[in-house]
C-alpha cells in the first residue's frame, strides 16, 4: 500500500476509534478468528475477555499490524490499516502497544524509553518525559533510572508512558497486569486507567481476568473459539449473559431446570421472575449465588449448609435442598455466616436469566 492510497482511505470511514469488520485468521488449518466484528468508540476502553487460546491475542496483533488478517478490514481512527486494499505496517498505524512484560528496552534509560517513539528533535525534551511519567503516576526522578532498577508495576507504567508519548490513535494493552502480584496489580491498574482516561485515548485491553475486565472497561467483548460471543457493558454482561457459558465465565452461576410460564420460571427455588422475554415451556434458569439470600424465618425454600468457602469479604455457601432437589451455591457477606449443618431458608432477589442455549 502506498502512502497516497493511505491518504485516500483517511476520509473513507466514520470516526470510530476502532472498527474491526469480518476479520478472519487461520494458522495452517486451525481457524483462530472467525469473522470477528468489534467496534470501539473513540475514547472508550473495551476489554476483550476470554480464556487462553480463544484468539484474543491474535486479534490484538492483527489490530497492531504484527500479523495480517486472512480477510476483513481493520480501521483505526477512520483510517483503514488492514483490508483488501492493503496492509499498513505497525510503525505507520499510530498505535500504542503495552505487553505483559512491558518490554522496556534494556539498553536505554527510562527517559530514552519514553521518548523512543517521539520525533528525533523532541526526544531530548525533558519536560515531555516528566509530563508523561507524571501522567502514569511516577516521579520525574525515575527518568534517569534503568528499566532493570524498576519494579514490575513501575515498568508497566513506564511502558504505558512510552506508548502514550507519540499520542497514538489507539492503545492496545495485552494482559498488561497479569505478571504483577496482587497488590501491585491494583495500584498499577488504577494508574493506567487514570492515565488513559486523562488523555481520552481509545483503548483495547486483552485479558483473561473477569474482575479486571468488569472493573476497568466501558465495554466488554467476550471471545470464545475465535468468535466474539457477546459485546456489552459490564453490567449488561453480568445481568444478561447470552448463554450459560458466558454467564459462568463472567461470574459464578447456578443453573437450575425450570418450567417457564408467563415470564415466571418455576424451579427448585420457587417461582422466580424472568428478565427479558421468554417462551413458555421447559428451560434452564441462571441464578447468581449473590442473588440467593439466606433468611432465618419467613418464606423460603428450606436447605441445609453443606460447606463454606470463606474469602473474608464474603463466602460461598454450598447448600443441599430438602429432598433430592440438588445443590445451590449462595454468596453470603462475611460477617453473617451460617454454620455447617444448619437449616436455613433461601430466597432469590431480583429476576433470573433464561439460558438461551
Amino acid at each position: 500500500m502506498t502512502r497516497t492510497s493511505v491518504r485516500l482511505h483517511d476520509r473513507a470511514v466514520a470516526a470510530d476509534g476502532l472498527r474491526v469488520t469480518s476479520v478472519s485468521k487461520s494458522y495452517g488449518p486451525t481457524p483462530v478468528l472467525r469473522s470477528v466484528d468489534l467496534t470501539v468508540a473513540a475514547g472508550a476502553l473495551t476489554a476483550v475477555l476470554g480464556r487462553s487460546g480463544c484468539g484474543k491475542t491474535t486479534l490484538l496483533r492483527l489490530i497492531a499490524g504484527f500479523d495480517r488478517p486472512d480477510s476483513g478490514t481493520v480501521t483505526i481512527d477512520g483510517r483503514e490499516v488492514a483490508g483488501p486494499r492493503g496492509i499498513l505496517p505497525p510503525e505507520e498505524r499510530r498505535i500504542g502497544y503495552v505487553t505483559q512484560e512491558g518490554n522496556l528496552f534494556p539498553h536505554l534509560s527510562v527517559a530514552a524509553n519514553v521518548a523512543f517513539g517521539l520525533p528525533r528533535r523532541e526526544r531530548r525534551a525533558e519536560h515531555r518525559v516528566a509530563e508523561l511519567l507524571e501522567l502514569v503516576g511516577l516521579d520525574a526522578g525515575f527518568a534517569r533510572r534503568r528499566p532493570a532498577e524498576l519494579s514490575g508495576g513501575q515498568q508497566q507504567r513506564v511502558a504505558l508512558a512510552r506508548a502514550l508519548a507519540p499520542a497514538p490513535g489507539i492503545v492496545l494493552l495485552d494482559e498488561p497486569f497479569s505478571s504483577l502480584d496482587a497488590e501491585l496489580r491494583e495500584s498499577t491498574r488504577r494508574a493506567v486507567v487514570a492515565a488513559l482516561a486523562a488523555t481520552g485515548t481509545t483503548t483495547v485491553l486483552v485479558t483473561h481476568d473477569q474482575s479486571e475486565a468488569l472493573s476497568l472497561a466501558t465495554r466488554i467483548a467476550v471471545m470464545r473459539d475465535g468468535y466474539i460471543v457477546q459485546e456489552a457493558s459490564p453490567v449488561e454482561l453480568y445481568q444478561h449473559p447470552v448463554d450459560r457459558g458466558v454467564a459462568a465465565f463472567v461470574c459464578a452461576v447456578v443453573v437450575l431446570p425450570a418450567v417457564v410460564r408467563g415470564r415466571i420460571a418455576v424451579c427448585a427455588l420457587g417461582e422466580l421472575p424472568v428478565a427479558g422475554p421468554a417462551t413458555d415451556g421447559p428451560a434452564a434458569v441462571l441464578v447468581r449465588p449473590e442473588q440467593v439470600v439466606l433468611t432465618g424465618s419467613g418464606d423460603g425454600v428450606p436447605a441445609h449448609v453443606v460447606d463454606i468457602e470463606f474469602y473474608g469479604h464474603d463466602a460461598l455457601v454450598r447448600l443441599a435442598l430438602r429432598g433430592a432437589n440438588g445443590e445451590i451455591t449462595a454468596r453470603c457477606p462475611g460477617h453473617i455466616l451460617p454454620t455447617i449443618g444448619e437449616w436455613v431458608l433461601l430466597a432469590v432477589q431480583g429476576p433470573v436469566t433464561i439460558d438461551a442455549a
Binding site: S52, F105, S178
Partner: protein, 519 residues
C-alpha cells in the same frame, strides 16, 4: 497468584523470511564445501582404491596412536578438568579467584607452544606418554570452564531439596549434581576429542604420528596425493563418531540455566585437613600447564644463544597476523549473523539444520578443511589458490561456531517483543535494527569477533597449507623456527602471539564478568 501465561498461539508458525533464509542457507553451504569435497572424493575413489590406500601397516599405527590418544586424553581431561572445577567452585579451597584464572589460562598458550616448552627442555616427552601429558595440560580447561560454570550456576535449592528428601551428600552429588553436570562435561570432552583429532603442531614436535600429522607429511611430500585425501576421509569419520557419541550420551537432557545470577550460592564443602593436599595438586597442575611452557619461553628469550630480534621481520609478521585475524574475525562474524538470527528468531527444522551444519563444519580438523580447499581450488578455481581470500574462507569455516555461540546468546537476550514494541512506536524495520537490535547485541558481536581473532592468531595447520607464498604469520614463523630446533629464534614469535592475543582475551574476560543485560 500465578496464572498460566495466555500467549495462546505461541506455536504459530512464522514463515521464514525468504531473503534471510537464502542468506543463511548460502553461508551454511559455504561451510559445508570442504566436508562434501572430502566425502565426495572418498566415494568417487571407491572401496578398492580406499582399501589399497588404507590397509597398510602404517595406517594401522596411525589408527592405534590416534584412538589411543583420544581415549586417554579425553579421560584425563574429564577427570582433571571436572575435579579442578569442583575444588574451585564447591570447596573451601583458598584462592578461588586465582585458581579460576590459572585453570583457564592454559587456553591462551597454544598446544604447539606448550609442546615446544617441554621438548626444548627434555626429549623425554617424545612419544605417547609425553603427547598425553602435553595435550592434557593444554586442553583440560575445555572441560574445566563449562563444568565450573554449571557448578556456579546450579541452584543449590535442588541440592537442599535432595537433602530434605533424605539423600546424603554423596548420594546428592551423584543423583542431583552429576546429572546436571553431564551436558557440560560431555560437551567439554567432545571439544577435547575434536582438538586431539585436529592437533598437528604439538604432536609433530613430539614425533608422535597421528592421522593429522600423517596427512600433513603426505601432503608435503606428494602434494595433493589421493592418499592424504583418503586419510582425511578417515579423520572426518572420526569426528562424526565423536559427535554422534556425544549426541547419544548427552541425549535430549536440558539443564535449565537458573535465574540470571541471582541464585543463592551453595555452602562450600569443608576441605579441612585435606587443604594442603588440594593446594599442592592445583599448584602442580598450574606448573605443568603454565609454568613449564612460559618458563622455558622466558628462558629462551633471555639466555638462548640463538635469540635474535630481527625487528623488521617480527614487525611485519605481527602486522600480518593482526591483519589476518581482524579480517577473518569480521568476515566470520558477519557471515554468522544470518544463520544465528534465523535460528534464534525462527526456530524450526530448517534453521536448526543450517545452524548445525555450521557447527559440524567447524568441528572438522584444520588440516581437512585446508586440504579440501587446496585440492578444490587447484582443480576448479586456480585463481583462488594461494590467495588471502581463500585463507580467510578457511578460517571462517573453522571458527564460525565461536562467532555463532556469542551471537546466538546475544540475540536470545533480545526478545522479539522488543521489535514489536519499537515498531508500534513508529520505528521501521531498519530503524529497529539500528536503534534496538544492534545496541543490544553489540557486546555479543564483540565477543564473537574477539573469539575468532584469538583462534586465528594461533592457528597453525590451515595457515601452513593455505597461506600465500611469502605470507608468514607469528604461528607459522614460530613453528618453522622451533621445528628446525632454533628455539631461541622461535621465542619472540610466541611472545608476540601472546601479546597480541591479550587485548582480545581481556575483552572477553570483561564480557564474562559484566552482568548480563536483563531480558
Amino acid at each position: 497468584m500465578s496464572r498460566v501465561r495466555s500467549r495462546a498461539p505461541a506455536t504459530r508458525r512464522r514463515p521464514y523470511p525468504p531473503a534471510r533464509l537464502a542468506a543463511a542457507a548460502a553461508v551454511a553451504a559455504l561451510t559445508l564445501v570442504p566436508l562434501f569435497h572430502v566425502l565426495g572424493f572418498v566415494v568417487a575413489e571407491g572401496p578398492e582404491q580406499a582399501a589399497d590406500l588404507l590397509l597398510r601397516p602404517r595406517v594401522g599405527e596411525l589408527l592405534r596412536n590416534t584412538t589411543g590418544l583420544v581415549i586417554a586424553g579425553c579421560t584425563a581431561c574429564a577427570v582433571i578438568g571436572a575435579g579442578a572445577a569442583w575444588l574451585v567452585e564447591r570447596t573451601t579451597l583458598p584462592g578461588r579467584r586465582v585458581w579460576t584464572v590459572l585453570m583457564a589460562a592454559p587456553l591462551a598458550v597454544p598446544a604447539f607452544v606448550n609442546s615446544y616448552g617441554w621438548v626444548s627442555v627434555t626429549a623425554a616427552v617424545e612419544g605417547f606418554g609425553g603427547a598425553l601429558l602435553i595435550t592434557t595440560m593444554s586442553y583440560f580447561p575445555l572441560v574445566f570452564l563449562p563444568v565450573a560454570a554449571v557448578l556456579r550456576g546450579i541452584d543449590p535449592a535442588f541440592e537442599d531439596m535432595s537433602r530434605a528428601l533424605g539423600n546424603g551428600p554423596w548420594s546428592t552429588f551423584f543423583r542431583v549434581v552429576l546429572p546436571q553436570l553431564r551436558p557440560a562435561l560431555l560437551g567439554g570432552v567432545l571439544l577435547v576429542g575434536l582438538h586431539l583429532l585436529a592437533e598437528f603442531g604439538a604432536l609433530q614436535a613430539l614425533r608422535f604420528p597421528t592421522f593429522t600429522t600423517a596427512i600433513y607429511e603426505q601432503f608435503e611430500s606428494t602434494f595433493n596425493g589421493p592418499a592424504s585425501m583418503m586419510l582425511a576421509g578417515v579423520l572426518v569419520l572420526g569426528c562424526l563418531l565423536l559427535l554422534m557419541g556425544e549426541l547419544r550420551l548427552a541425549g535430549r537432557v536440558r539443564v535449565a540455566r537458573l535465574g540470571s545470577g541471582a541464585a543463592r550460592t551453595a555452602a562450600p564443602h569443608r576441605l579441612g585437613s585435606l587443604t594442603p593436599l588440594a593446594l599442592t595438586g592445583m599448584a602442580a597442575l598450574a606448573v605443568l600447564a603454565l609454568g613449564v611452557p612460559l618458563g622455558s619461553l622466558a628462558r629462551w628469550l633471555a639466555v638462548g644463544s640463538s635469540t635474535a630480534f630481527p625487528v623488521v621481520a617480527l614487525l611485519t609478521t605481527t602486522l600480518t597476523s593482526i591483519g589476518l585475524g581482524v579480517a577473518a574475525a569480521v568476515a566470520t562474524t558477519l557471515l554468522a549473523v544470518p544463520v544465528a538470527w534465523l535460528s534464534v528468531r525462527h526456530p524450526g527444522r530448517v534453521s536448526r539444520l543450517l545452524e548445525r551444519s555450521t557447527y559440524f563444519a567447524g568441528s572438522l580438523p584444520g588440516i581437512v578443511v585446508a586440504l579440501a580447499l587446496v585440492t578444490l581450488t587447484v582443480g576448479y578455481l586456480p585463481a583462488l589458490y594461494q590467495t588471502t581470500a581463500l585463507l580467510v574462507a578457511a578460517y571462517a569455516v573453522l571458527f564460525m561456531p565461536r562467532a555463532m555461540v556469542s551471537l546466538r546468546a546475544a540475540l536470545a537476550q533480545v526478545p522479539p517483543e522488543l521489535d514489536d514494541s519499537a515498531r508500534a512506536l513508529g520505528a521501521g524495520p531498519s530503524a529497529v535494527m539500528v536503534r534496538v537490535t544492534l545496541p543490544l547485541i553489540a557486546r555479543g558481536l564483540g565477543a564473537g569477533t574477539a573469539l575468532v581473532f584469538l583462534a586465528v592468531v594461533t592457528e597453525l595447520t590451515a595457515t601452513l597449507l593455505l597461506a600465500p607464498i611469502g605470507t608468514a604469520t607469528l604461528a607459522t614463523e614460530f613453528w618453522s623456527n622451533s621445528y628446525s630446533l632454533a628455539y631461541g629464534a622461535a621465542a619472540p614469535y610466541a611472545l608476540l602471539m601472546i601479546l597480541i592475543s591479550a587485548p582480545a582475551a581481556w575483552l572477553l574476560t570483561r564480557e564474562s564478568r559484566s552482568e548480563r543485560l536483563p531480558a
